[in-house]
Amino acid sequence: MDGGTMIHYILKRFFLILPTFFGITLITFLIIQLAPGSPVSLKLLGPGGAGVRSDLISKEVIEQTKKLYGLDQPVYVQYGKWLKRLVTLDFGDSYKDHRPVSLKIREALPITLLLNIISIFLIYLISIPAGIFSAVHPESWMDKITTLLLFILYSLPSFWVAMILIIYLGGGEYLDLFPIAGIVSYGVETLPFWNQVGNLLWHLVLPVISLTYGGLAFLSRFSRAQLLEVIRQDFIRTARAKGLSESVVILKHGLRNALIPLVTLMGTLLPALIGGSVIIEQIFSIPGMGKLGFEAVLTRDYPVIMAIVAIEAFLTLISILITDILYVLIDPRISFEKVHQ
């Protein structure tokens, strides 16, 4: 492969990413601003109930608050200022607690990353072997049972499963095996390091189960279908004819070829890693990205919403690019030149 062409291609794609990125953020900025509900009136009439205002004074106070949040300026000026700050990776301060948005994301991100990496890893770890098993024994009763089981799991709503797990495995009335709130115990810092890690993993059991079970069906079906198609091809028959053991035939010759399309799925993986699950984080009181983003939308915390959108958009665009490059590296039928022409 010609390295020069590849660099040329990557550069060209990268410069296409920039306008797309600004387009996404601009549209989001406009939508947020146009959407009804304002952070100022939320501040004055909070979710607690009673709001106190007296006529003229309140207008003055509203104006002052708008100015404080920078909402008194026209939208294009606000967007310009936002962009200017973005260049230095400054996402501004949250309206909610006036802390820098980047700090809030730095707090939430590792938690969500950890949860997602573990659960995505488990999804792959369980569903690809399950898929292989089904493909090797197609239409056997085990195949049917796994399929049925995975689809049952797939259709169970996660909030319900999470609550059932909490009540029966972590609550005070039945089995009390797992913690059900937060990601570490309160006062965990008094334990030795490895027990702290154990404490963390112990807390992650129920949330990870709730995040994992629903993702199994798709991937196992996907790998089953791919593998079945490959197994029917001639080179597999050749491999068998050469007298290779069945596991070598399936794993080395079949699976490698069958999983090339999985690369497409990688494109969705990167943004999915940082997007937290609102429901699971809410139920297990996990202060991750899902909860941060959800609360920001409800309280109209514009700087936080914009920061999350910008990061997600950037990661999505980058991972689309990575997917395309990976394709060329893996599959000799695709090359940069063809795209280039």
Partner: protein, 529 residues
């Protein structure tokens, strides 16, 4: 085909992973400290700066750290000295002079002075400070001035019966920490508060917990409980499970939890349940700008059509009291002489008929002068009570030919519709302080911009409200309020629903627990084994 299966290997891996987890779990318990009160927080506060904070969680935590000039007595609710050892009001009720105790120190041993009080007032009034919710209360103060190191004077522009509450309850923050050039809204002290109160701030793990510990050099009576930990658990059904596990000591309960999920013998042995009424009530508000709600007879009929007793039983398991007016049901302003409009669909039909509402065009919906009786019922989403209520009201009103369309909106949109007056009927609750001024909700001047979003206008009520605002005698003021109560009930701009109790469960380890209208007071509790 070989029976060797790669899946077996994977399964062994999983088994080891599971084994590892189980082994790890044996060793990871953090021992429980029985001297700590663990209190549930439904959400994390935004800040612990008492001037910036807007949520109940922050004010709950701050009440152990920060102190004000005066406080209310738990039993009589009358003001008594706190930071101020004495106070005095001028005969015209415009000047309030407070003398501070001589022995006041912040938790870092710096003395609290009049300068701190003046600084706090200046910050509240500073437009760059994100405290608009508080600033509206203090607009009528002309100045706060130092008389001597220990004496401070609040001067008001006009007399107002709540003036003492405003200065006596004003949040006071340490000037020596805040006044260092950093921006007030972003100041580090906002997340590491430092006050003069019985508990000292220790740590705040974002999204997890906030820990306070007893201040051993506290000037007043030291509490028995050594530390208080506030745990953030977002879902209340999960919080109840954590409570049952013994990892929470104090948590609020929903009515269904109170009645159905906490009645086991085991729970009763471990926990004591408490019930008390704080000032507040729920209601259905009729937008008086709409043609069908303009006639007070129609509003009366609507109240007769809504079976409030059944709703209370159905939705709140009978926990609550039916109210007839806008005042605290256990306070002196509430007029117990006003009788409740009973559920009576027959009378309602008669009244609607008298008011001219009949099904003239035979389409199943009442109409009057060409206007069909069809309205939108606005409710905030995610509130079980409002959703249940709206469904029952829709059902009941449809029986007499009134069509209700339920419009469920997210909170930010909901309050925007209230502010723009683009709703027909709405359900909501008010909560307020023990001292209550009906001005903001009921005075006609508040119907354009203020909280009088239903557009209630009544000259008699306006006059009484204005008179009560400058009446400093509790008894005569309460009489005026009672009169307002009966006038508002007569006009029915709201269909008043219920005062709902606060329901909590507390671990039986704590003793000397008394229930006051103000709630529970952990400062007087003792800890048993």
């Amino acid at each position: 085909m070989s029976r060797h299966n790669p899946f077996i290997k994977k399964r062994r891996c999983l088994f080891f992973l599971f084994l590892f987890l189980t082994l790890a779990a044996c060793n990871v318990h953090v021992p429980k400290d029985t001297q700590t009160l663990v209190w549930h927080l439904g959400a994390e506060p935004d800040t612990l700066n008492p001037i910036l904070a807007t949520d109940v969680y922050a004010s709950r935590i701050d009440s152990f750290i920060y102190e004000t000039l005066l406080e209310r007595d738990n039993e009589t609710l009358a003001f008594k000295p706190k930071l101020a050892e004495s106070w005095e009001a001028s005969p015209d009720h415009l000047i309030f002079t407070f003398t501070l105790r001589p022995d006041l120190y912040w938790h870092d041993n710096i003395p609290l002075t009049v300068e701190d009080i003046i600084y706090s007032f200046q910050r509240i009034m500073d437009p760059k400070v994100d405290a608009p919710h508080l600033r509206v209360y203090y607009q009528d103060i002309k100045t706060v001035e130092k008389v001597s190191d220990k004496v401070v004077r609040f001067i008001f522009k006009k007399p107002y019966f709540m003036a003492l509450e405003f200065c006596g309850g004003m949040p006071i923050v340490p000037k020596h920490l805040y006044d260092n050039g950093l921006h007030f809204n972003r100041h580090p002290t906002n997340r590491a508060p430092l006050g003069t109160g019985p508990y000292r701030f220790v740590r705040w793990n974002t999204g997890k917990d906030i820990l306070l510990v007893r201040h051993e050099k506290y000037w007043g009576k030291k509490p028995d409980i050594r530390s208080i930990q506030f745990k953030v658990i977002a879902e209340d059904s999960v919080a109840l499970q954590v409570l049952k596990k013994g990892e929470l000591d104090l948590a609020s309960l929903r009515p269904i939890q109170w009645v159905r999920q906490t009645d086991s013998k085991k729970f009763q042995e471990g926990f004591q349940k408490y019930e008390y009424y704080t000032p507040g009530y729920s209601f259905i508000g009729w937008n008086l700008r709409r043609p069908y709600f303009q006639d007070k007879r129609v509003r009366k009929a609507l109240t007769h059509l809504i079976n409030r007793e059944a709703i209370l039983k159905e939705l709140n398991f009978g926990l609550g009291k039916l109210t007839t007016g806008p005042f605290y049901i256990e306070g002196p302003s509430y007029n117990h002489g006003v009788t409740l409009d009973p559920y009576d669909p027959e009378t309602a039909k008669k009244i609607l008929h008298e008011a001219g509402w009949e099904d003239h065009d035979n389409d199943g919906i009442l109409d009057h002068e060409g206007i069909p009786f069809r309205f939108e019922f606005l409710i905030p989403s995610g509130r079980r009570f409002a959703e249940g209520l709206a469904t029952i009201v829709k059902e009941d009103l449809s029986k007499v030919g009134i069509q209700v369309d339920i419009n469920k909106l997210e909170w930010a949109l909901f309050i925007q519709k209230l502010n723009d007056h683009t709703f027909d009927a709405v359900t909501l609750g008010w909560s307020f302080g023990f001292e209550q001024d009906p001005y903001q909700v009921w005075h006609s001047s508040q119907s354009d911009q203020g909280s009088n979003f239903v557009g209630f206008q009544n000259e008699k009520v306006d006059a009484l409200i204005e008179k009560a605002r400058v009446e400093f005698d509790l008894k005569s003021r309460s009489q005026m309020h009672q009169e307002i109560h009966s006038l508002i009930h007569e006009e029915q701009p709201y269909t008043f629903l219920f005062a709902s109790p606060s329901l909590v469960a507390l671990n039986r380890r704590f003793h000397n627990v008394k229930v006051y209208p103000i709630g529970l007071d952990p400062l007087e509790w003792t800890v048993g084994p």
